[in-house]
């Protein structure tokens, strides 16, 4: 996965996020980490999430290599592109 950011002033930023890094992050106990830092009133939304399923889904995104997930171009020249 690659993230390209271009600001209106002409600064360009390319952030490669390798799939192994994403796999690694999804192996962390995200649920516990997130629950610790979230407000109690919002916790009920997170309790609904099936984290294991979510992990498989995120990994399954790697099948779509080359897909432009997000492509935003503002008229001031700012561009954000997320490509798998």
């Amino acid at each position: 996965m690659k993230i390209y950011i271009k600001t209106g002033e002409g600064r360009k930023l390319r952030i490669p996020v390798p799939m192994w890094a994403i796999r690694l992050v999804t192996r962390l106990p995200i649920e516990r980490i997130v629950m610790k830092h979230i407000k109690e009133k919002d916790a009920k939304y997170l309790e609904l999430i099936d984290w294991k399923e979510m992990r498989n889904l995120i990994i399954s995104l790697s099948e779509y290599k080359g897909l432009n997930l997000v492509d935003i171009r503002a008229n001031d020249g700012t561009e954000v592109l997320i490509r798998i």
């Binding site: 009920k44 939304y45 609904l48 999430i49 099936d50 984290w51 399923e53 979510m54 498989n56 889904l57 399954s60 995104l61 779509y64 080359g66 897909l67 432009n68 997930l69 997000v70 492509d71 935003i72 171009r73 503002a74 008229n75």
Partner: protein, 138 residues
């Protein structure tokens, strides 16, 4: 039929198809009502979003503002339905007037629609200012 022709002209304008294909499409429209079949064939294979090699269904959200801001979001439909499933159901959001909405039924309806092969333009908004929002499954 006029609507279909204007749609074809729009596609030419946007560079999605060339004039030759447009001619074929219009001919087909005149001839018989196979237009929808042909349109379905042409649109995914010649779209210019750089995703043409994906044969799977995509949920596309396109926003164009009058100031020429462009937002394109492409999500594989399998990913969307998987997301909904991993949430179990769409959470009940506290918005006025939405308290009585049965979220379980709504979630099920959306999943059924996706499994049933829903397609085409779901949302098409054009404001007076010239902003447009399109949500398409193709």
């Amino acid at each position: 039929m006029n609507e279909e022709i204007s749609r074809i002209l729009k596609m030419v304008e946007e560079g999605k198809i060339d004039s030759e294909k447009a001619m074929q499409l219009i001919e087909a429209l005149k001839g018989e009502s196979k237009e929808s079949v042909i349109l379905e064939k042409v649109t995914p294979s010649t779209n210019n979003h750089g995703n043409s090699k994906f044969k799977i269904k995509m949920l596309r959200i396109k926003v164009r503002s009058k100031e020429n801001d462009i937002v394109n979001i492409n999500l594989p439909l399998a990913f969307v339905s998987g997301m909904i499933k991993s949430f179990g159901k769409i959470p009940n959001i506290n918005i006025n007037g939405m308290n009585d909405v049965d979220m379980d039924a709504m979630t099920q309806t959306i999943l059924d629609a996706i499994d049933g092969g829903i397609g085409g333009k779901i949302v098409d908004i054009q404001t007076g200012d010239g902003d447009t929002v399109e949500i398409v499954i193709e």
